[in-house]
Symmetry: D3
């Protein structure tokens, strides 16, 4: 056993696979990010998430405690995100201050986040004949989980926080099978039905009142390599979906193309070029 | 922070996102429903689920305890399902009695549930060359988890229990990526291979000896809106799949159409109109 | 209740659904296998998985402890895998020795496993413009989780260990939606993007530098039944994918066919016959 | 095994050792009572117990939540205490209302409970040269734990709540070795040093500024039997300790006697008759 | 750090402080012994300990499961007790069989253990005016915990099981402050009031209807050394307490002396020689 | 409820009972100190505490990991101890460095701590005829737990660490009923038999080869008040016990007196003045 341990501990073998924590660095933590998400949900949807025994007379206490805890946990996680990839020792205090400021900014934005999520819940309700009530959607629809994680993550990404947003959407990905990159831009009244297998890429732009079904990919077609053969980062390579578009199950839409407003994309279609507004694309012999 | 807490606690902001629990109401609980599912599995498949040390001489004790606990937990969850959406205070005692009666009815039906699930296990075994034994299927096939949750949930739905059935199938959805609406009607010897991304809609009717693969959608094509623009609920809008049909990976079957018996639907096909019995539908140039 | 318990405890009803543990047998345990996977990850990628406070001066202690624990837990699980399906009492001591030997063999192979996984991480980095760093890929890409579980499981399968390999890949299947059968043969520099819904069958052979997207199935088309109507086991029935192939989202490739090197398979295509090298297959009107 | 189980399940064998729960009865729960004590401590001593991250700006939220939770948990435990020994089915609703009212009464009394406990902390500080600060006493002196449990339990006992008070003092007994019967009456500025082995009986009356050391018993000497040979309950049979008395380690004071104010009882003395005020009782040859 | 780790890992430094586990040896486990005690309590006092929802119609199932689990856990612990101090490799299989046989013997004796403990509960009830009911004594008196652990441990000690009995009484010692050596012999209707600080030595013999109070020691006075200066083991060196004796708080009784039947020993007395029957020993000036 | 929450949140009511944490301060944590103690025990007594599967070939890895973790956890706890009572913001970085240095000093002293504890184990073995082996003493004697916690705490106290030492001895006090102040000075080969109720005060000085029994108090007789009526801290007020003294159960020794070498103090004696060497003090009529 000694020799295996030695070989596994050699610097050369470790070079690409080892993370050296800096002194005082706390690692980004899935557990803490679960708490971030749960606290946010309990603030946005009190009574459904978090302590179910709240009533209107005590609600402010519960929201106050959740907001305070969220601020603290989020601040630590933002900081650990900054430190994860950072190489300089000197900026620790500065990053700590910045993390505190960003956590406060996130918290100040919670009322607006609630407004946006209410619209998403409404879209789910009006788009699904099987939905019995708003309650049922808030309480058990996976799309609400995936979209709320995305909206939290997207907010943090716009602040420039590294890693943490991706971890938050991956948590929803694992739970719901819906993989929305935090970099995507998604309008109001967005809904996903069933959702397993949905992929929405980093540079997607999605309008309002868009509805997509399980297995839909909004992906990239191909991508440029730079002179060293590395993929060029930050190229706009994913689709633009305009308002009121519906995309049926397992459709695959690839590349920086535009699906015009009020269009319908049928199941299992692979679309790789622009679609004019008000168009219906289906497999041969299919009708919707 | 005070002002954010205040805004988040205002009645207007809360109206659509807040659940006010009634006095004495216990909330439907994912944890308790996990226990319902685990107890049911340990009764149906003793030795595989629950305590693995049972032997034939002590089995009756273990089953007796599991049945007793299941009755209690299920009764509470049924009651909390009824209360979740109910608005009247007066019917509490009546709902409590009804919940007890329904929990007992569910338990009395367990031998029959075992018989049905044995058929599903057999279908999985005879339909998968990679399957090594019944044991392997019972112990680690995700389809068995998804189908057993569906059969539990469907039984409860036929009793008129709200919310709880949907929560039970969502638990399997999250674990396996298989989303079967508890309202669907599914015959014996049903099997799903791999299963991630499978969606089976609320009003589907599936015959016996049907086999479907990962990514298959049995969904709705479009749906009616009522005069207020709300989707009309309870319309039959999902496919009917007759006996002995096989549906390959990523096929999408939409609308109240019938796939006739002994038909085969190929991978990635999107079908939106009736298919006669004994028909094979594939993508151009594919053969199965 | 008595009569239900009695009926559920009758031998006839139990015959197909009951696992009788042998004396001294310990059951394969999901919890223990999670530990196997976590320990392996913490040895392969120290600092990312396991205790994040390791530094180069103490690393050997942490790796030493993890290797020792892994050896013990794995040995028990290998043994329980052997016993799960075994019928003879006499071979217990022999299987115990064999399990110990195989656990040691697995551990001795860890440096090589690390080398292979480093290649997979590189492939993910160079194949995804959204990837920010090796760190991000190791720390939060689901493909790394699914592929590392597969490579652990495949190694154990080549030793002839029953059941355990399948349980290990099912754990990744549930977490990531990626279902790779441990029997598949997969070359170096393999990467899966997003991944939900991917299925890779038991007898697949995949070359080097292959990249596949979410929803891709590498499955079987149909299979032979023997004279009793049982599926014939161990037939080569899944595709061969040669080097440098890219397969886009939701493509379905079925049967013992060969996709020649440097080919590209477009989204939502269903392929059921051989594809020559350097070929691009797309849906009509799609271009990649 | 069957016969042992049968014998253990026979009614005759069970008669004296079996608790038959009534329908809807929830059992008094050590876990819930630990929560009652912890919530009370976190309200009385915020920052020391409960969440240590509170600051003055958010304190009201934390206290609000703790008070709300305490009310709910305490109400349930009071109810289960009433039901534990009760035999009539009809009074359930009445006892539920009463429990709610008593839980509210307890909560309304919390400010006064805090005042009393502050006095006890002061007494500990001024009575122990080893004490470094109020903080140290609040945070780690076992006497504070034992006395606060006693004061909580005594309050509930004066409301007529059965069983629960005793369980609360037993929790402190197990943790600290200090056994104060909830029925005892104890004045302000009470302190116990070290405390292991202290016993304070049900009908004790203790004045203000009393200090006792480890191993001190304030017990009963003997007790009357009624005509059936049962001990007569509720007889005043324990000592009265007047103001400013100090009792040294391992002294035993038995019976309804009075230790007059400003007296000192030396270590290991057994006192069974009245002691006049300002008296010092020691073992022969001892001096204090 | 390296040098400290090296010094701490040197064989010489380790010689007296290191336990080398033999292959296959499972270590005696506090957690498992807690389960042994909890299962035994739940069998003896169903409804008070274990699942509180049992009723007479389901009791046999609960007792059946508890008995089966107890048999398994106890068997393992007995075996690990035998192995703990054993030096020979060859007797493993033999010890395993013996452990199984002893666990079965213990279980067969449970009805008799229940009878004995009922007597102890009765003694506590009739001996304590503060006791409100049998229920209260079973449910929250520390003496019942200490005495039941002792009776379990004593039974195992008479079977020749090493270490395990001592661990079981130490668990009660830690929880209640009552330290009864499992080797002591204690008659029926034994009760301890309050109990903290009670010590009952290895070779004590206690009759029936004996009652002792907190802080009482039944200990050894001095002991012989053998020629190497080691204490001679297994000498009868603790008191004999005859029937109907009462011993008050903090009394210390030392050496192989006899306290004759119907005697009363007063508080804080130290007795080191025989006491005739019907004698009352008190401190000067005390009366009881 | 509002008014109670308000009253409890008022600054005046909070003044004496509220701990305001400073920014960045982490609170002393019982849980972390339990880890400190468990890690130390697992280093001192490997195989008995911590992972029981260590063997000589892997021991260095386990000790290495434990030493590394201990250093980290201890450093944090030392820091939080310093911050607990500190009022200045400016010294944070300085205290952090100091804490690290002290944690390293503690770790460097572990081999010596092991040597001392081996002597205590030997003393327990040679002083107790009921002891079967060194193993049994290390594994289950409460005295070993209490004395090892004391020796850890005493070491930290000599470094000037506040609060933490006291918390460590209180943990042992709660578990074993033995209350040793970390300030006491205790020589080698110290043993306590049974131990419940033992109290050893802050300024005690105990020689080598001293043995004490349960219920023994080495306490203070009375203490000076300063001009404000506060007790004068740091006065030498507890006994000096010279080498080879034995003190029997429930003896109480009070004040700065000296018990001369080779003396024996009998059970239940209260001693308040010097005892010459080689003296035996007993209650009248007792003999030892």
């Amino acid at each position: 056993m000694l020799s295996v341990v030695s070989r596994l501990s050699e610097y050369d073998s470790l070079r690409k696979v080892y993370h050296q924590k800096r002194d005082g660095e706390s690692f980004p933590s899935s557990e803490a990010l679960h708490e971030v998400v749960n606290l946010t949900r309990s603030i946005i949807f009190p009574g459904y998430y978090g302590d179910s025994s709240v009533d209107l007379s005590t609600l402010q206490y519960y929201i106050g405690v959740s907001v305070d805890k969220l601020t603290n946990v989020l601040q630590e996680q933002i900081l650990s995100g900054f430190l994860f990839g950072s190489s300089s020792e000197t900026e620790y205090e500065q990053l700590k201050l910045k993390s505190k400021e960003l956590a406060n900014r996130f918290v100040a934005n919670l009322p607006s986040l609630r407004d946006t999520l209410v619209c998403d819940v409404e879209a789910a309700y009006y788009g699904d004949p099987a939905a019995k009530s708003f309650s049922e959607i808030i309480f058990c629809y996976p799309a609400v989980k995936a979209i709320s994680n995305y909206r939290i993550a997207h907010e943090l990404l716009t602040y420039g926080v590294p890693l943490i947003p991706r971890m938050i959407t991956e948590m929803a990905h694992s739970e719901t099978g819906i993989d929305i990159h935090p970099g995507a831009t998604i309008g109001k009244y967005f809904t996903i039905d069933h959702g397993t297998g949905v992929v929405i890429g980093e540079t997607c732009i999605i309008g309002e009142h868009v509805k997509i079904y399980q297995g839909v990919t909004l992906g990239a077609k191909s991508f440029q390599l730079d002179e060293q053969g590395n993929p060029v980062k930050n190229i706009e390579r994913h689709p633009i979906i305009e308002d009121n578009v519906i995309i049926y199950a397992n459709a695959t839409i690839l590349g920086r193309i535009t699906i015009g407003r009020d269009s319908v994309i049928g199941g299992n279609v692979c679309v790789t070029s622009d679609v004019s507004p008000c168009t219906k694309i289906v497999q041969p012999h299919s009708n919707l």
